[in-house]
Symmetry: D2
Subunit: 346 residues, 4 copies
C-alpha cells in the first residue's frame, strides 16, 4: 500500500486527487494538507466526503510529511513546492508537483512569466515533465515530477504529432482555449462569483497567460528548434472541461489520411488518448470526470491550414488524473490503475 | 459473471446504468436496447463511451433478451415493460423495471394517474417495490422488482422514520421537490431546450404529478393507514440532483435528539443513507454521481412543525444506482458492489 | 428633473437601480456611492455602463448627499441606513431604504433576527413599508420608505388576498422559496463561487431567515391578528428570479372561482401583478428584467389545501424596481414610469 | 406610426424583435406571423408577453401583410423570404430580412453553402447588406435590407478597420467564435436540450459554417480584393452573447496607438460600437440585452500578430437590434431610437 500525502488538498484539483486516490486500490491517503482549514474535518470542507473521509486537515510541513509517506502531491499555488523541497525530502518520498514550479527548465523564463524568484533552481534539471504519453520512460525513474498544466496538456498533446512529423509550420501555431471555471480555483474572488461567470464568456490573460511558455518549451523539443505560439484562454460558464481549438499553417499539402496516420503513430496504443472518428469533434461533456483526452483535426484546403481540437477534464487529465497516472508510472503500477473511469454524463 | 440486458439504454437513466455496470466487476452488459437507435454504435449516441463500448444498439425484444441474459433492466417509459413481460421471461431472467409499471399495487390508481391501461396486472402482487433500505428482504427473493421513482426514493426515505415512529401527523405531509433536468428525459421537446430551462425555475405537474400516489402508498404502509400528501416538483437549471424539502406537523412536542434517534434507528447501519451533522443540510452537489441519499431535519418550535430535507442524484440512487443495488440484492452480491463511488464535485 | 443619489451603487441591486433610473425620463443620478470603489469610474466596476455612465464612485456621506439630491436610495447592508439617517436629512431629501432597517416596526424583533442594535428606532413609526400595491396611499406622503425584501414582496403579495379574505387558516402558511444567486450579493465568498452554486440546489437559513418576521408582520396586518409562517429559502443556479411555492389549509371549502375573485378584487387593477390564466403557473424566466409579479394558485380537494405560486425578478420588483415604483409614488409621478419594461427572454 | 409585421415572430430573434419594437415609440406591431402557432395567443408562446401582447399568431402570407404594414421583418429560416418576395410586395412595404437569403451577392456561393436553390436572384443586386455602421448611406434608400448574421456582424466590425487600413495581411484572418445557445434557435432538437448543452463546450460547423462566405464577401470589399478566412463557431452554455477572438498577421510592424487610431477613425462617432480601454477586453455579459458591440485588440510583438476581440448580443445587435437600427435608417428616424438600452446585468 502506497502512503500518499497531499499538500493543498482543499483546492479543486486537490479534492479531485482525493476522489481518485480513494478509488485506487494500492493507495492510502494519510495526510490531507490544507493551510486554510487546519484541524477542520476534511468532509466539512467538501461535503461529498462525508462518511468517506474522517481525517482532519493538516498543515503543509513537507519535512514531516516526507517521513510519513511514499509520495507527496503538491496541489498548491506556484512557489510553495519550490520553497519547501530539498534533497532530504526527495530521498524519502517521491514528489509530484501540480504547480508550475518545475515545469520550465529555464529559470529566467519562469521568473519572467510568474513574477517570483525560483527558490529551488537546483532541482530544475532533475525534475521530469510529467506528460505521461510523451515522457513515460523518464517519469518511471523520477524522484520529482512536474505535473503539466491543464491547458498545456491538452495543447501539447493535440499538436505534438503535427510538430514532430513536420506537418505544420512550427511558428504558425495559434491556440484558442476554453476552460471551465474550476480552473480558476476555489479562492473567494468577485470575478469568480456565480453571477459574474454565469451567462458570460471572456478571454483572459491575453498574450500573457503563464501556460504559454510551457507549451512553447515542450513543442520546441518536438520541433527540434525554438518556436512561439499564440495562446488565448477563455473562461466558460461550466464547472469542468477544457477545449482547445488550434490553428496552424501546413508545411506542405497533406492528406487527411496522412495526418491521421501521424496521430495514430504516436497515440495508437495510448489508453487515454482517443482520436475520434472523422468529422466527429471533441466536446468537453464526453470526458468529464475521466482521464481521457479526445482529439481530432480538419484540413482546410481553401487556406492550406489545419484546425486541431482537443478536450479533457481540466481537473482530471489536466491535473489530478495525470498526477495519479504519473504516480502509477513512478511506482511501477499499471499506468491506468484507478483511472479507468467512464466519463460522467450528463 | 452476470449477463445483463438493458431495454432503453439510450435514455439518461439507461446511460447511467451502463456507466455503473461497466464499473461493476461481476456484470457484463450484452444487450444495449434502444428502439430509436437500432444498429447504431452505442458510442455514437453517447460520446463518453467511445473506445469503451463497441456494441451497437438492439431492439427491445424482451423474449430474445431473456434467453440471453440473467437480468433485464427496463429503463423505458411507463407501459412498455407491462406490455412485454410474461411468465416465460420471468422464469428465465430477473427483471428490474425502472418505469412505473409495477410500483403501484392498485391497478385502478395506476390507470387513473398514468392514463393508460395496465397490461400485466397479474404481476402486480408479485412485484417487489425496490426501495432497498426498506424492502431489502423481499427484494432478495424477487423475480420482478419495481425500481422506485427518483422523487419518491428521496421523499419516502426522508419521511419514513417520522411516519413509522408516529412523530408526525401523517396527513400533514407537504413535499416541495426540486429536480435537475435529466429527470425530464432525453426526448426533443421545446420545454427542455437549453434556453428554456436555463435561468428559470418553475413548478410543474402541480397536484397532478405521478409520483404522488407512489409516495402515498409507501408511506401509508409505514403509517399503517392510508394518508395523502401534497407533492410539488420543480425544474431546476442543473443536470443532476433532487432536493426535497418536506414539511409536517408534529404529532406532539418532541426533541431534536429523539427525532435523530428515530433516523438512526432505521438508517444507522445503512451505507447509502447519510444523516448529516446537526445544522448541516443536504445539497445536491455533494451526492452527484453517487448512490448516496443525504438527509437532515429541523424542528420549528414556533409552529410545532418539522422541516425535513433529502438529496440524491436523480439518475443515481434515484434510478440507475438503485437498480444496481437491487440487482446486487437479487443475485446475492454485496449490496454496495459497484456503487462505492465518491460523489463527483464540482 | 429629480436628482437621485444612491448609496451602495455597486451592489447588484444598486446597479439595477442605476439601469432603471438611466431609463427614467424624470430622474438624473448625481451620486454613485460606493465605499469599496471610491474614486473609481463606475463603468470600471460594471462594464455594461461603459460610455453610458462617466461618474466616479463617491463615498456614503449621507449629509452631503442630502444637500445635493431630492431622493436618496440606500442599497446597503442592514444597519447602515439606520446609522446615518437623521431629521435634517429627511427634511432635505426623501429616503428609500432598500435594506431591512425600517421594515419591522418592532425594534426587538429587528434586533433579535438581525443581531445588531437598531440605531434609529425613532424613525420606525414614521417609515412606511413600501409594498406599493398595498400601502400606496401612505407611500405617497412618506419621507422615509422601507423598501420590502425580495422574498417578502413575492410572499406577501401572493398570500395577501387569501389572508385578507379569510380563505386560509392564517397559521398554516408554509412558504418554500427559490432564489437566483444575485440575491446573495456581490461580495467575495467561497459559497457563492461559480463552481459552488452551479449544478447545485440547497436550502439555507432554514427556519432562521430574516425575511420571516417581515412576512409575518405584514400578513398579520392583513389577518388582523398575529400569525406565524414557515419560510425556507433555497439557492438556485441562475442569476435572477424568485419563485415562491406556498401552501396553506383552507378555512373552509371554496371554489377556484371564488379564490380567483379574491385575487382580482385586490389586484385586478394592478399593472405589475399578473394573475395568470388557470393552469398556467409562474416561471421566473417570464419576469426577468421587469417589475412584474406573476402569480397563480391551485386548490387541492384531496387535502383541503391551496398551493400558491408567485414569481418576480429579485433585483427588479424584489428590490430596485419596487424602489423606483416607490419613488414615482412619493414624487407624484405616474406609478409605472420607467418601469414598463418587457421582460427579457431568453 | 410605422406599422410593422413580423414573419417568424415566435423564434428567439422574432421575440426579441417584438420586445424591442414594443419599446419603440414610433412603431406598432400589427402582425405576429408564426406558421407553427397560428391562432394561438402570442403570450401563450412567450409568457413574458402576458398582458402586454393580446394578438394571436397569424400565418406568413406576405402579400396580405404588405397591404397592411409599412415594414416587414422576416425572422425565418433561409429560403422563405426569397420564396415569397416580389416586386409588388417591395412596392408596398419595406422588407428587412433577418435570414441569409439576400446577404450574399453571388447566387452560386449562396447555393453552394446553403444547399438550396435561390428563388429570387433578381433582387440580389438591389438588396443592401444591412451592416449599419458600414453601409448606412445605402440602407437609407433601400427597399430590401439583408440583415447580417450574428457572427458576421461581430466578425466584420472587429476586422473592418484593420483590413480597410491595410494593417493586417488579408488572407491571414482566423476567427474563433463562441455563441450562446439562443443562436441555435427554438426548434426541438436533442442536441439543444438543456442537459446536452449545459456543462459542455464544442465546436460545430468546423470549416463549413455558413457565415464564412458572408464574412469573406464583406471583408473582401474592405480589402479591395478577394480574401479567405477560417471561421470556427463554438456553442457555449449560456443563453445570449457572442464573443469572437480573431487572429491575423500584421502587414508590417505597427504601434498600438496606430491601431487604436484606425478603430477610432471608423468607429469614433458610432453610438453602438464601444472601443474598450486598453487592456480591457470584451465580455458578453456587458452587452446582454443591448445593441452594443464591444471590441478591443492586442498586439503580439513576439509573433508579429494581432489578437482582435468583439462581443455583442447575438439576438440583439446580432439580429433584432440591428434590424430595428436598419428600420430606423430606412424610415428616416434617429438611428438609435428604441435601442438606447442599458445592457442587463447580471
Amino acid at each position: 500500500m502506497i502512503k500518499a500525502g497531499i499538500i493543498g488538498a482543499t483546492g479543486y484539483a486537490g479534492q479531485e486527487l482525493v476522489r481518485l486516490l480513494l478509488g485506487h486500490r494500492d493507495v492510502e491517503i494519510v495526510w490531507y494538507g490544507s493551510k486554510s482549514y487546519i484541524d477542520r474535518k476534511y468532509y466539512q470542507v467538501y461535503g461529498n466526503m462525508f462518511q468517506i473521509v474522517e481525517n482532519v486537515c493538516l498543515d503543509d510541513n513537507m519535512e514531516a510529511l516526507a517521513d510519513t509517506v511514499d509520495v507527496i502531491f503538491t496541489a498548491t499555488p506556484q512557489g510553495l513546492c519550490a520553497s519547501l523541497i530539498n534533497e532530504g525530502i526527495l530521498n524519502k518520498a517521491k514528489v509530484i508537483d501540480l504547480s508550475a514550479d518545475f515545469r520550465l527548465k529555464d529559470v529566467a523564463v519562469y521568473e519572467a512569466w510568474y513574477g517570483i524568484r525560483h527558490q529551488s533552481p537546483r532541482f530544475l534539471q532533475e525534475a521530469v515533465y510529467g506528460l505521461c504519453e510523451i515522457n513515460r520512460k523518464d517519469i518511471k525513474h523520477a524522484r520529482l515530477v512536474a505535473n503539466p498544466g491543464c491547458y498545456t496538456t491538452c495543447s501539447i498533446l493535440a499538436f505534438y504529432p503535427l510538430v514532430k512529423e513536420g506537418i505544420i509550420q512550427p511558428d504558425s501555431i495559434i491556440i484558442d482555449a476554453k476552460s471551465g471555471t474550476s480552473g480558476a480555483g476555489r479562492s473567494a474572488k468577485i470575478a469568480n462569483l456565480y453571477c459574474e461567470v454565469n451567462e458570460n464568456i471572456k478571454a483572459y490573460g491575453v498574450l500573457s497567460h503563464r501556460h504559454t511558455p510551457e507549451i512553447e518549451e515542450q513543442l520546441s523539443y518536438a520541433a527540434g528548434k525554438k518556436l512561439n505560439v499564440i495562446f488565448t484562454p477563455h473562461l466558460v460558464p461550466m464547472n469542468r472541461g477544457i477545449l482547445i481549438t488550434g490553428y496552424a499553417n501546413l508545411a506542405e499539402p497533406v492528406s487527411a489520411e496522412a495526418v491521421r496516420s501521424a496521430y495514430e503513430k504516436y497515440y495508437g496504443a495510448e489508453y487515454f488518448i482517443r482520436l475520434l472518428d472523422p468529422e466527429v469533434y471533441p466536446e468537453t461533456r464526453w470526458v468529464e470526470g475521466s482521464n481521457y483526452v479526445d482529439m481530432n483535426f480538419k484540413l482546410d484546403n481553401r487556406t492550406n491550414r489545419i484546425v486541431v481540437m482537443g478536450a479533457l477534464d481540466n481537473i482530471g487529465k489536466g491535473a489530478a488524473g495525470q498526477a495519479v497516472q504519473n504516480m502509477n508510472l513512478m511506482f511501477g503500477l499499471p499506468e491506468t490503475e484507478g483511472l479507468e473511469l467512464v466519463p460522467v454524463f450528463p
